[in-house]
């Protein structure tokens, strides 16, 4: 469809925003940077702090960017990152039904 889009979607409030908590186990991190590189939403970057292993662990740039694809967990060689989805009201209802 070639038309340019000029108006915002009328149903944009109905979009179910995934809310997540990104958990970093900083001292387990060896600073390989895979999670930063592979995050499709660019939600992570390298931090300035130095952990127990003497490397810079990642930090969260913007948690709202995360859509809980779980790829960071999959690529982390040291099991140092995982994401938990915060349940919202709609989801709970959906789960019950």
């Amino acid at each position: 469809m070639p038309e340019r889009i000029r108006h915002a979607a009328l149903d944009k409030e109905t979009i179910k925003q995934v809310k997540t908590e990104i958990h970093l186990i900083k001292d387990e991190c060896k600073g390989c940077g895979y999670c930063i590189e592979y995050c499709p939403r660019n939600a992570l970057e390298e931090s300035d702090e130095i952990n127990a292993r003497g490397v810079h662990p990642p930090k969260v740039v913007d948690e709202s960017k995360c859509i809980n694809c779980g790829f960071c967990t999959a690529v982390c060689p040291d099991f140092a990152i995982f994401v938990v989805e915060k349940p919202n009201e709609k989801d709970e209802k959906h789960a019950k039904s």
Binding site: A8, L10, D11, F71
Partner: protein, 811 residues
């Protein structure tokens, strides 16, 4: 074979030419003296019979020609009447019926190129007609009989575009029994009609009447539907097109049951293009509920999974049927078809280029297409017409007509054909749902021209829709409430209005698709100045392209409503069906002829051939021509410096014969014009049909392509004392023969250089790119060249004769 021998014997005979001057009622006879022209024709060499008659194309006229061929043993026939683009086939057929090879017929165009453009100068028009007849007789004396090659037609069709026109054409052809490929760019067929709520004038539900047809296309055993696909290459010619189609991956296989579980888990959202962005869709989606095929599709621009790395597998896990396959790759399918139907549709005008209407800035100014999605029960608001600013139902609605149409300032000059009735329908839809809504329609003219249209217009007025003549000059917005003020002049009441509205709907026009140019190049089509594809004849071949085997349906050819699109689609299917039912077609015998003894195997012709139809055999030191691949432009013959190539029916001798005939007398007062058959000759015809008056000094020589015009023709015209020469062809990029007119440009530029170096006024040689629709451009060029003719001094003519005298040798 007997016929062959007969025609060969005729070739050796002394030419016996019959000349017929047609009055065409008063179309010709009203502006020139036909009897005088006939009398003059009788004095020309080889002419054994010359007469004038009222309608040569009538059965009676044709019967006369046939009788004369037998009685007077005519072996050449010249008819001076209308354009050969109109009646050459008629007279050729008559000749054939009388046993005369059709290539022994020649036409002089004394209507479009003479009587109609010199309405008020009888004497000059008569003199010009005599010249045109003289040229035709000169060519006729040198005509050679020819046999046409027969080409088989593949009994398969390609339909480009899956809107309602493409759907109808495909179904008609498939039902006739032909195999049809439908190529659609979008994930689903349906096109514009699928997005519209109701149709006028019957107020039928658009998708309800379209969906069954879409489904038929999806299930028809004779139709192969290629969605999310694009035609990338078309090679070949009538009956034998080789087409490459790029099938972009959907990343979902046919196992998809359209359950929609994948959509629920997809974390990515974007505006749905089908709803003009008024609703959201996910990274995996189906554009609308009735989509055909119903298989979902992944938008790879949005999806997190790029370059084969599965980052997010939520949809894969949600799909019970395991139909999602990210490893799918683009594929190119090669298909062979005999006919092509172009049903690529139209774009809509983008009103954000009109700052005075505030579209894109004011939330409550929407387009008619956005309106269709809002009023549609399947649309983003569930059929409630709501203001984007506050989601309230508007109480006062204004429609603004002709947005992007009928304007020389912003938008297009033409009328978009559908907007008036669409607005009337829309206003009635609002009245149907919310009868208290006040509706204003601002218009220039209401064009309710079709069956049942006036009734609908009357009904709208009866329901209280207020029609105000005069478009608003400006729309202003109250920043707090987002209400709108429409300010303009009511030209019926002669007063200024300032009307408040909750919502304004811009009735946007239709325009040629932005990718039309690509289709045009691939299929060597022409477009008019508005960008729509040009038909072979506006009245009598309205669905045929000038290129054989290609037909138009729907808005690709011009803006039209659904009924007209469907009508045209069925017509196109019937036209394509005629070709395929016959199973073979003859191609015009205008391919090149090689004189091997003169060929130096330099390979120049190989380089200029747009069709790669000439190959150089280095071992045997000669060229070989693939007749079936040749398009018949003749640019190879113009390129050959050794006279080893010529084009059948447009031979060097014949064209030189025409030049010599026209330059015999008063050459210093004449403009010798070479016009290509497809664009500039048709453009000159168009000037005639439109009765555009221009000076009678011009004499047009028709070639198939401007690329046929060899420098020696131009040189010869100057060497024989012509005042000026015009070479005219299709616009660069629009050449009917792909790119042959690039050679025209090179050759003319070379001659300009030569003229400059020899101290000649290079203005005497002009090059004009003129499309079939640019009659006025041709006429004004002739007016301009007339002033050059008046300025050229006798000594300049003599000097040009001296410079180019070499061109007179060797013929």
């Amino acid at each position: 074979m007997a016929e062959n021998k007969e025609s060969q014997s005729k070739q050796q005979e002394e030419p016996r030419i019959g000349v017929y001057i047609c009055h065409c009622g008063l179309n010709i006879a009203g502006s020139l003296d036909c009897a005088d022209v006939a009398k003059f024709a009788g004095t020309l060499p080889h002419v054994v019979l010359a007469q004038d008659n009222r309608y040569t194309c009538s059965d009676q006229g044709q019967a006369g020609i046939k009788k004369d061929i037998k009685e007077h043993k005519l072996n050449r026939v010249v008819v001076a009447s209308c354009s050969p683009r109109l009646h050459e086939p008629t007279f050729r057929k008559a000749c054939e019926e009388a046993g005369l090879n059709k290539y022994l017929f020649e036409m002089a165009n004394i209507r479009e190129h003479c009587s109609w453009v010199h309405l008020h100068d009888r004497e000059a028009a008569t003199e010009k007609a005599k010249d045109l007849v003289k040229m035709a007789v000169a060519k006729a004396a040198l005509l050679q009989p020819a046999e046409e090659a027969e080409v088989p037609i593949t009994r398969k069709a390609l339909v480009i575009g899956g809107g309602v026109a493409g759907i109808q054409a495909a179904l008609d052809l498939a039902d006739t029994g032909y195999r049809v490929y439908v190529v659609e760019k979008e994930p689903s067929i349906g096109g514009m009609m699928a997005r519209i709520d109701k149709t006028f004038p019957t107020m039928d539900c658009s998708i309800c009447i379209l969906a069954p047809k879409m489904s038929d296309v999806g299930h028809h055993p004779n139709i192969e539907l290629l969605t999310n696909s694009e035609v990338t290459e078309v090679k070949g010619y009538i009956g034998n097109f080789h087409v490459k189609v790029l099938k972009k991956p959907r990343y979902v296989t046919k196992d998809c049951s359209a359950c929609g579980e994948c959509v629920k888990v997809c974390p990515i959202v974007a505006p749905n293009e089908f709803d003009v962005g008024l609703a959201i869709r996910h990274g995996i989606f189906t554009p609308f509920a009735q989509a055909v095929p119903s298989t979902y599709i992944v938008d790879m621009n949005l999806c997190l999974n790029k370059e084969g790395v599965i980052v997010c597998d939520k949809c894969i896990r949600a799909c019970e049927r395991q139909a999602i396959k990210f490893e799918m790759k683009p594929e190119t399918e090669e298909i062979e078809v005999g006919t092509i139907i172009v049903a690529t549709g139209a774009d809509v005008f983008d009103p954000s280029v009109l700052p005075n209407y505030g579209y894109g800035k004011f939330p409550n100014v929407i387009t008619s297409l956005e309106f269709e999605r809002l009023i549609n029960a399947g649309g983003p608001s569930g059929g409630h017409l709501i203001r984007p600013s506050d989601k309230q139902i508007p109480k006062r609605v204004a429609f603004v007509q002709c947005v992007g149409s009928r304007s020389d300032k912003a938008g297009k000059l033409y009328c978009s054909n559908v907007c008036c009735m669409n607005t009337i329908k829309d206003s009635l839809l609002i009245k149907e749902h919310w009868p208290d809504t006040e509706i204003y329609v601002f218009y220039i003219d209401i064009r309710a021209y079709g069956k049942g249209f006036e009734d609908l217009y009357k009904r709208a007025r009866g329901e209280g829709v207020v029609f105000v003549r005069g478009l608003p000059a400006e729309i202003k917005e109250d920043k707090k409430t987002h209400n709108l003020w429409l300010i303009g002049e009511d030209t019926l009441k002669n007063e200024v209005y300032k009307i408040k509205a909750d919502m304004a709907i811009l009735s946007i026009g239709l325009e040629a698709r932005k990718d039309s140019e690509m289709i045009q190049r691939m299929l060597t089509l022409s477009r008019n100045q508005d960008g729509f594809f040009l038909e072979a004849h506006p009245k009598l071949r309205p669905v045929d392209a000038a290129t054989g085997g290609i037909f138009f349906a729907g808005c690709a050819e011009s803006p039209k409503d659904i009924k007209d699109s469907v009508t045209q689609a069925s017509a196109a299917a019937a036209r394509a069906g005629i070709l395929m039912a016959k199973g073979k077609v003859t191609v015009e015998a205008i391919t090149p002829v090689v004189f091997p003894e003169k060929c130096k195997a330099c390979g120049l012709c190989v380089k200029v051939c747009p069709y790669n139809a000439i190959t150089l055999n280095k071992e045997k030191k000669r060229i070989e021509i693939i007749q079936a691949a040749c398009g018949g432009c003749g640019t190879c013959a113009a390129e050959c410096a050794f006279g080893a190539l010529t084009q059948s029916h447009f031979t060097d001798d014949q064209i030189i014969g025409q030049i010599d005939a026209v330059t015999e007398h008063d050459a210093d007062k004449k403009i010798i014009a070479f016009n290509c058959n497809w664009c500039s000759y048709a453009g000159a015809d168009f000037a005639g049909v439109s009765r555009m008056q221009y000076p009678p000094n011009v004499r047009i020589i028709r070639t198939m392509c401007s690329g046929r015009v060899a420098p020696k023709f131009i040189e010869r015209a100057f060497a024989r004392g012509a005042a000026t020469v015009l070479v005219s062809g299709c616009h660069i990029g629009d050449c009917h023969y792909i790119n042959a007119n690039y050679q025209t440009q090179k050759r003319v530029e070379r001659l300009w250089k030569k003229m400059e170096q020899s101290g000649l006024n290079k203005e005497r040689l002009q090059l004009l790119w003129c499309s079939a629709a640019e009659g006025e451009k041709f006429a004004s060029k002739i007016r301009e060249m007339k002033s050059t003719v008046d300025k050229v001094k006798p000594e300049e003519i003599e000097k040009a004769k001296e410079v180019f005298k070499k061109a007179l040798e060797g013929t």
